[in-house]
């Protein structure tokens, strides 16, 4: 499996994680640490109910940007490998939007890589959220700092 994947339909991040570990040989003893972040869709934002989300992206640049973030982070942290899955298109509350997993011999590198990847993704990866709620549709204007 490739490190980065965009999905147009709901996915199970935990099953994906296992498949990725097996496909890349990360389950044979070299990696004692797996750090995981799963971001899911809330049914509220900035005090308002959200019924549906649409995630627009920039085909080509989005994948390239994510691959560069992952490669750069592995270099910086010394983690062994990482996986990023991100949804695009329509998404409903409770569905998972993003999986970031980092694999390493020990926990420090895995935690550092997982955190660095999700923060860089939120800062730089070309995705845009449009929310649908009782008052109509609106584009989300910015990502929250490091919350």
């Amino acid at each position: 499996m490739e490190r980065v994947e965009l999905r147009t339909a709901p996915f199970d991040p935990y099953a994906d994680l296992r498949r990725f570990q097996r496909s890349r040989g990360l389950d044979r003893g070299a990696c004692g640490a797996t750090a995981v972040f799963v971001g899911s869709m809330r049914d509220f934002n900035e005090g308002e109910a959200v019924a549906e989300l649409f995630l627009e992206h920039y085909p080509g640049m989005t994948e390239r940007c994510l691959e560069e973030i992952v490669a750069g982070t592995l270099d910086d942290t010394g983690a062994e490998d990482a996986r990023v899955v991100h949804r695009v298109g329509p998404i409903l509350p409770g569905e998972d939007i993003v999986l970031v997993a980092a694999f390493s011999a020990h926990r420090a590198e895995a935690f550092a890589a997982c955190r660095a990847i999700i923060e860089a993704l939120k800062r730089d990866a070309p995705f845009w959220k449009r929310e649908k709620g009782p008052a109509g549709e609106r584009w989300v204007s910015c990502n929250t700092g490091d919350r």
Binding site: H57, Y58, C65, I97, V98, W128, R130, W139, C142, N143
Partner: protein, 75 residues
Amino acid sequence: MIRILFFAGLAETIGRREAYLAYPGPVDVAGVWVQVVGTPRPDRLRCARNQAHCDFGTAVHDGDEVAFFPPVTGG
């Protein structure tokens, strides 16, 4: 020819997602915006050249793809 792409709320604001500009000679990303859109650049506008983030002063060459978009909100 330069291909220009617009995304998300910006595409809705200016009413199109794609445009083409005959290569006008030496030009930067800011110059492409002026020639294709013409209105003042929105606050916090971001840009890319050939699918990599860049600055408004980045040089654009014939055959390049330039994109303009609002701050990103993925994750």
